[in-house]
Symmetry: C2
Amino acid sequence: MPRHTSQSHDGPKISDATVKRLSKYYRTLQNAISAEKTTISSEEIARLNGLTAAQVRKDLSFFGAFGRRGLGYNAVDLHRNIGQILGLHRTWNVCLVGAGNIGTALAHFRQFAEQGFLFKLILDSDPAKWGTKIGDLEIQDFERCDDLVKREKIKIAVVAVPGLAAQKAVDRLVAAGIKAILNFAPVTILVPPGVYVRNENMVIEIEALSYALTSKGGHRPRTGTLPVV
Amino acid sequence: MPRHTSQSHDGPKISDATVKRLSKYYRTLQNAISAEKTTISSEEIARLNGLTAAQVRKDLSFFGAFGRRGLGYNAVDLHRNIGQILGLHRTWNVCLVGAGNIGTALAHFRQFAEQGFLFKLILDSDPAKWGTKIGDLEIQDFERCDDLVKREKIKIAVVAVPGLAAQKAVDRLVAAGIKAILNFAPVTILVPPGVYVRNENMVIEIEALSYALTSKGGHRPRTGTLPVV
DNA sequence: GTGTGTGAAGGGTTTCACAGCA
DNA sequence: TGCTGTGAAACCCTTCACACAC
């Protein structure tokens, strides 16, 4: 059985669900380390995230064998390994597109910087905003995105523009060399193969809650609906 | 074969994925109606959302037979039917918890109100904020959440508090009668059965992008990664 | 002919259960 | 004994392909 150590890029296709759970484990381990825990079991990681221990072990097993039988996982080691898998052992320069309500809030959102995602560029198409600052970054003309994205070698963009402007903005960003997009515009955007998008559509999420309340009992979301521990 | 018309609550369990797609169809239909289209095919709904026509038809088939063979769907009828399914034929009163960067941005986010989700209550635990307004709503003491949530008969809360405060805040909200939570705090919160949560964890999403870029080719997110049409 | 509605097939993810090792 | 690592089973979701209605 191919036992690849952490790096991963070959091997079986890893599901989106697994990747998102690894993110959770990563944060769980950060907390465990802060609390001076040296060892942690799949059982405990699972409990803290509302999952099963088998799920945790299976997720990790795609990337290697990080634990010790009978003992559990070394918190620091596993944290470092997951960091490598997810590409969090480095920092990423990020471009923010759209400096409205949501965009401005995201620019101030601490967790991004804490996990190594650094805004280096803020673009907006409203001339009134050009030259004004968010933090210590000046808002710049979106029309210049080609030059600026290339100059800063930015691969990740966070898009927070109105729905109608989103697809066009994304097309420009992709042409400028952006390879991954976190989209907060309330529309599903389409991109060419090789570019990754995550649509963070808050309207869809709240409508899913509406459905759950409307069709009581018929359906239960999977995430986080476990008894309080 | 049980042919339930739109309402739905019995019948087969509907997957989360299906519910989220229905939200997309709903918006697609709104656009089609605005563009004066009277009829639309599963093929077209699919194309506009980067999905397959079979997927669209299957999703709808769980709730009834809304189309006409050889013709397609009546846009207005299907829109109304999906609205009924998702519980969007009514308005929902919503409580915002946490009036920081993200919370304030969400309070201003138009799409929520446009789809019938109305903020009626804004709570924060910072005394400095009490009495100040966002729009025409005064920020109130989170400690009063029991009374206020009950008085306004609110079932949905949008939580945008710091990670460390999130689980405690949610426990209070659930005790006050909240049944559905849209959580923007960067932690997975756990709730008792019968309460629905959606964790909108932006850090997880951006880390999934980091993974995609790090392990090029090994994995491809499913959503929205289709060729531009 | 056209496009829906739907069983059945196919593919993927989670859970199970136990072998294996400290 | 305790807990990981992992094939196999179970489950769920998507895709296929075609009967059927217009």
